[in-house]
Point group: C2
């Protein structure tokens, strides 16, 4: 099988962790007889520097010609003073999501065996572990709703944003959440603010309707404010969390932080054709960029998600995930996952990549 | 001095914790020579049962005639199946906030000395303690913005809400945050989503402008998704958090849960005349209602906030707070704050009220 992948490594640690993902991909290509062609494009801050905008035309065209986008991370202090619209993160990610209608964002987060101490949660809570899949709607809601803007003058000047959801948008993301739950612990928690938002009232109604087709999956509704709280007390009781764009942004980050190991988390953003963008959940971490200490696991797992969801190579995806588990279970870890007394055993970015590539 | 207070005890544990607040108020009235007249009104579920709606006219009129509202809590399983608009919480609280233009919501939350183990945070994080004041805008944003509704049919049916903020709305709440910070650790963290929302871009701009008048207060901006995360890792680094209505709803609940002792947290919702509604942060807790075990401290501290902010009786307010601290510091606690091996020392709702009243 032959595929085209657009590689958008971006800024900060992006390029160095991407190199390790490519190393691991090389191994699975050989082992599973895949032929993947990679083309690199600038995105984010480096694209601003080289081409004057965070998502140049050539990059967008390259993505259009590809079967999937393997994304690194974007942003850094150098570009923080730009107007919000032109900044690397928002200027690259939002247009990519909109352009390819990547409405389905999957953000899996689990507390890895042996890494419970990394969680900021109390030890008796983290000891119970957790494994949550956040299914976030990614092209609707208040991110893209029109009108959005400003009007008026002086003290009366005001800004406005529109949160907007159609039945179609809600039901397609709800279906994905229920299907995902079927392959997991069969529970969907739908997050909304139906006591305040008209969008949430429709959201709850459509989710209930979709649930009828999934009698084997339990459905519960929770308000966003309460979800934020319950995740702190009993994260183990959640399986799939179904969220609108804004609530998913907030909750998926909370859940990621609850694992305490953002360097292990990856995410998939897909459209209805299976095309997708795959990226680590953490940021560009400019403070550690170039030092060879960044954890490449999230980027490597993003490659696995790409193989599974866009290239439909489940065996290759699982092989990567098994190799990663092997590294983590053998205590083969980058520094940020080690307590200070064990920091001397920390592996470098490249060592992690080598170990995982060899374990394929 | 003579005052009128509208007492809206509501549902669940509301009436029983309100009784203790009244007990404590009786003591401070005697000691500080205040003359407070209380009138009780139905609100929430009990108002639905007795009058067919969660905020009857008589209740609203009673509140209009008063100097402040002392609020208990509303809601319970009995009314959960009603349409969102008619439910006790949203049907009583939102109209009260709107009617009296209670734009300023103060939600203080601190980890109490000796109660660090209640926090769901890892012990090394909770050991550092934290003390955060969430200043939430309460009558604007997506809660009240128009248009809000539904249109279209079939799969294209859609719902919409409008987030809307004017300079005037932002600057008046920002000013309160900066002033509060002056009396605390002199730091304001303004929470927004300026990389996505037009409202947040204006928010950030106006907050910057207000900050010019407070050169002694440090200002930082943080995205809501990042705020949710950083609170888990380093809650001690936050002082005043300034939030829009929706973000404040989410963050103040997260912070409340981080204390692990919601029964101790109260909140104040005020307008520009000093009129306000004072209520515990926790809910109506129907599961423990009527058992005499609910913690009355949040309700008692709400009375202190009322004395301070609406009745301008700082000495009386501080006296209540000192009495509460005395109870907590002597380990005089209701059951939910005790580890299971110490549960037998739990004080009842009435015992807590008695102790605090006596300590005035
Ligand atoms: C960069 C920003 C626009 C983006 C979002 O809010 O969706 C980010 O926070 C994310 O979650 O991917
Ligand atoms: C009941 C609900 C409308 C309310 C809100 O969202 O403001 C509540 O959650 C709160 O925080 O006081």
């Amino acid at each position: 099988m032959s595929y085209q992948v657009a590689v958008l490594a971006g800024d900060g640690i992006g390029p160095e962790v991407m190199a390790e993902a490519r190393k691991v991909l090389r191994e699975v290509e050989a082992r599973f007889d895949l032929n993947i062609e990679y083309t690199q494009y600038d995105v984010g801050g480096i694209a601003i520097d080289n081409h004057g905008c965070p998502l140049p035309d050539a990059t967008l065209k390259g993505c259009e010609a590809a079967d999937a986008i393997l994304f690194g991370s974007v942003g850094g202090p150098k570009w923080e003073k730009l107007p919000p619209n032109e900044q690397p993160e928002r200027g690259a990610l939002l247009p990519l999501r909109g352009h390819f209608e990547l409405f389905c964002n999957l953000r899996p987060a689990k507390l890895h065996d042996g890494l419970e101490h990394m969680s900021p949660l109390r030890s008796d809570i983290s000891a119970r572990g957790f494994d949550v899949l956040c299914v976030r709607e990614l092209t609707g809601g208040i991110y893209f709703g029109k009108p959005k803007g400003r009007q008026g003058e002086g003290d009366n000047e005001e800004a406005f944003d529109t949160m907007r959801y159609s039945r179609r948008e809600i039901s397609r993301i709800a279906r994905i959440a229920f299907e995902a739950a079927r392959g997991r612990r069969k529970k969907v928690t739908s997050v909304d603010k139906a006591n305040v938002l008209a969008c949430s009232v429709l959201w709850r109604q459509v989710v209930e309707e979709v649930a009828v087709d999934f009698p084997d999956v339990e459905l519960e509704h929770i308000y966003i404010d309460n979800a934020t709280m319950q995740l702190l007390r009993r994260p183990d009781e959640f399986d799939v969390m179904l969220c609108s764009n804004l609530f998913g942004d907030i909750l998926s980050d909370e859940i990621a932080m609850l694992t305490g190991s953002m360097g292990l988390l990856s995410s998939a953003s897909m459209n209805s054709t299976g095309f997708g963008l795959f990226e680590p959940a953490g940021g560009s971490a400019p403070d550690i960029a170039g030092k060879g200490i960044a954890n490449p696991v999230a980027q490597i797992l993003s490659a696995a998600l790409m193989l599974r969801h866009s290239l439909k190579q489940e065996a290759a995806a699982s092989a990567i995930e098994r190799a990663v588990s092997k590294a983590l279970n053998s205590g083969y870890l980058t520094g940020e996952l080690l307590s200070s007394d064990k920091r001397s055993q920390a592996k470098s970015t490249a060592e992690m990549g080598d170990f995982i590539a060899n374990a394929i």
